[in-house]
Assembly symmetry: C2
Homo-oligomer: 193 residues x 2
DNA sequence: TCGGTAGCAAACACGCTGTTCTTCAAAATG
DNA sequence: CATTTTGAAGAACAGCGTGTTTGCTACCGA
């Protein structure tokens, strides 16, 4: 339904709009962005815009989808099962791409959908791994969904802080910090009985 | 500046508006709430509303301030320095008050200001405690601001999940879970060296 | 050469906002 | 008890942003 408009039209306008939107988002908060701003910046007409998108929110969703796809893409590439959570890959990806778009998205309250989706994606990835680790030693003292939520959230907290603070440390160090802080609790839980 | 209107007018209207707003927020997302909705629900006139508030956002800020004051109030009551973070008090408070307002706020993207403020408040509380614990054993391997950010975020992640999931466990258990998962990493960091 | 496609500009109706003005009732004041 | 003062209601209004419609242009492929 929501895809119809986008899919069967030219790529050009989409690129222009995405670029313009990303640019504007680094300058003012999502709520204050007008459709007119996007038109001006992208250099396209009103009609064209509404031929591709339903409204401003549709553009945001588009961007979020893109960004999420990039992130989960990098997650998938990482050999699974090795570590519980592919934290290093995510830190590295963000560091390498260094796009302001991601930063603006994470800071703004409009980025909540992205962060929520990431959290959910991480949880979906963590829980099975955790589950197999656990059946070997049976009966977890803490419900597994809670543990995955914690792990995903702990990672995202550090990730958010790091991106917001303009990535003051290299990705390797951030990964190491995450491992040191967040994982001992999980190991301890798995060991006891 | 922003306070002028609110402070010098009657309390009655504020109560009506707050109640109406909290009610509506459990029914539709913040973005979709119209001023007219508030007027209808609160049973007040347009003129009266704008005599007290600048706009819809002003109401939201008002509510956020209230909620934040309640939470930080409960934090302050907790004897400080005992534990690094007064997690139990926060779980208990949320459980006892059981207000839908808090839940709606946390779920909606409009609640980001509240969560950010809470995160900041927790950090401000954690860092000094952490700092004293650390000078005794000198030179932390991980920058302390990062550690406080992690701790506050790890707590809030669990808190958010718990509230969103309608508080399926008693506060004591949640506190215990938090202690088991999030703290070992911090102790380990403090011990080494 | 001609249909189809993608675009622009202008104009528009609509919905919501925030303001203004007029009226009214209930307090406060003497 | 009469009279100011105050807070609020209602209606009307201008302003702005949205999303749609219309008419026109340009390009592209058969």
């Amino acid at each position: 339904m929501k895809q119809q408009k986008r899919d069967r039209r030219s790529q050009r306008t989409q690129r222009l709009v995405s670029a313009a939107f990303a640019e504007i988002m680094t300058e003012k908060s999502y709520e204050k962005i007008l459709v007119q701003d996007i038109l001006d910046r992208a250099g396209i007409g009103r009609t064209t815009f509404y031929a591709h998108y339903f409204d401003k929110e549709d553009v945001l969703n588009h961007i979020v989808e893109q960004e999420l796809a990039m992130l989960t893409g990098h997650i998938a590439q990482a050999a699974q099962g090795q570590r519980i959570i592919p934290s290093l890959e995510l830190f590295v990806h963000a560091y390498a791409s260094a796009n302001q778009q991601l930063r603006a998205l994470i800071c703004s309250s409009a980025g909540k959908p992205l962060l929520d989706a990431l959290q959910a994606a991480l949880c979906r990835m963590i829980e099975p791994t955790l589950s197999t680790l656990c059946t070997e030693r049976r009966s977890p003292p803490i419900p597994l969904p809670v543990v995955s939520e914690y792990l995903a959230g702990a990672f995202l907290t550090l990730f958010k802080w790091w991106v917001t603070a303009d990535m003051p440390y290299p990705p390797e160090q951030m990964d190491s910090i995450f491992q040191q802080l967040a994982l001992p609790g999980v190991w301890a839980m798995l060991k006891e009985k």
